[in-house]
Amino acid sequence: MGADQEQRTVRCLVAKVGLDGHDRGAHVISRAFRDAGFEVIYSGLHRAPEEIVQATVQEDVDVLGISILSGAHDTLVPKIIDGLEEYDASGDTLVLVGGIIPDEDEEQLKELGVAEVFGPGAPMQEMIDFVRENVPDRR
């Protein structure tokens, strides 16, 4: 294996933010992404939006997947996206939101820059394919 042989791997941060303690979905997604060959960094529970921004920037992930089942997505997601902008990181990071998101909020999140929203029962393969097809090209 030569020093110049490129080894590109999709990197994802799976993030739990705020007081939301539902972590089954985040674990399921982390494992599925790993099995799909992605590198997954799981934030752990109860993270502040600034922590998610810090992790996204430092880990330079291609994909930020925010898992929210608490209903607080309308305040937490904008905070994270603002933070990413502060570090010029929003442009080439694919932002996904999963969990319990009412249909009427979905549009709003997408206007903020969220690429897609996945709710309960979303097929795993669909999410993996979505990441593969939409992972930002950073060349």
Binding site: E6, R34, E39
Partner: protein
């Protein structure tokens, strides 16, 4: 593009630092030039390696170390290495979960890295990522890796100071230490010192260190366990000039961290004053160059093999006894060797 990135990194832009490390990890086109340009800006960071068995509390301790260094006004970079799952190439990198003490503080730059199925390449990538953090201006750079296997030991060995974490408990841990980790430890931390058996682990470590160093106190009369320990808790003089101190820590409660950092600082002072830092640097660069040469050379060879239609046809001919491995090696390398010799004579 790479010009901008290096400049942005040098002016302290976190995003640029993160992107440089990504390019290093991916071996993306242009990464060599980037690392070459960074080299002259390196050499000021104090590089600390943290290793130990899985779950020993490495990440928890690193988190508390970082917080303590920050209180002292120092900036910190961390590279946490997690082995990757061999089947798919995917991995869940779990070290960051423990980074709870430095919320939103960008001056603690924490980066998770996986082996990506090739441990050899990982050591080059780690060396280069440490350079990026060093050039960025981090005062302390910490490398965390599980001490399982020679490759990971090689990675952590490039640190100026290596700390090995030993949790209390199974004699297995001590066995593992015997298999190569003891030799690289500059400092021992018996982490999870709140658990029963910590005293015993400290004791076992002391005995092992004494045994290894060819204990002087045996000749000087039997001290009993208590007396001998005194010397070993402090860096004492022996044939090598340094005895690894043993510090007890309770990382999740932030206990013993100051003492631990003190021991690391003592070691740092020792290697600087004894001129050993320069020696370590020489060794490190020697390794670095050799590794790079090996990798570059094998890449050139791969190119040549591809050009000739792949290795499989040679393999088949070897199997049919039409040729043999030595002859194949000569055939592939011959023209290269000839070319090198010709240029040398010119």
């Amino acid at each position: 593009m790479t010009d901008d990135l290096v400049e942005e990194l040098l002016t302290g832009k976190h995003r640029a630092l993160a992107r440089v490390i990504t390019k290093i990890e991916n071996r993306q086109p242009g990464y060599r030039e980037i690392v070459s340009r960074l080299h002259e800006h390196t050499g000021t960071a104090d590089v600390i390696g943290i290793t130990g068995s899985p779950g020993a509390g490495k990440s928890t301790l690193v988190d508390k170390m970082a917080a303590t260094y920050r209180e002292r006004g120092l900036t910190v970079g961390v590279i946490a290495i997690d082995p990757s799952s061999p089947f798919t190439g995917g991995a869940v990198l779990g070290d960051r979960i423990r980074m709870g003490s430095n919320v939103g503080d960008m001056d603690v730059f924490f980066r998770s890295m996986s082996a990506r199925g090739s441990l050899g390449g990982l050591s080059t990538a780690t060396t280069d990522a440490v350079k990026a953090l060093d050039a960025f201006g981090k005062d302390k750079v910490i490398i965390e890796t599980v001490g399982a296997g020679q490759n990971e030991i090689d990675i952590v060995k490039m640190a100026d100071t290596v700390a090995v974490l030993v949790p209390p408990g199974s004699g297995d841990d001590v066995q593992m230490l015997k298999a190569g980790i003891l030799e690289i430890a500059d400092v021992f931390a018996v982490n999870k010192a709140d658990l029963t058996g910590a005293d015993r682990t400290v004791q076992e470590l002391r005995e092992m260190i004494q045994y290894r160093q060819g204990d002087v106190s045996v000749d000087a009369g039997h001290h009993g366990p208590g007396a001998g320990m005194e010397d070993l808790d402090k860096p004492g003089e022996d044939a090598d000039g340094w005895l690894p101190p043993i510090v007890e820590t309770v990382a999740n409660r932030d206990e013993g961290v100051d003492e631990f950092l003190e021991a690391l600082a003592d070691h740092r002072e020792y290697i600087v004053s004894a001129g050993r830092l320069a020696e370590r640097e020489r060794t490190r660069h020697r390794e670095e160059i050799r590794t790079l040469l090996r990798e570059d050379m094998s890449e050139l060879l791969e190119e040549e093999i591809d050009h000739r239609g792949g290795l499989d046809r040679y393999v088949e001919r070897v199997r049919e006894r039409e040729t043999d491995p030595y002859a194949v090696s000569d055939e592939l390398l011959g023209p290269l060797a000839e070319c090198v010799r010709r240029t040398r004579e010119e």
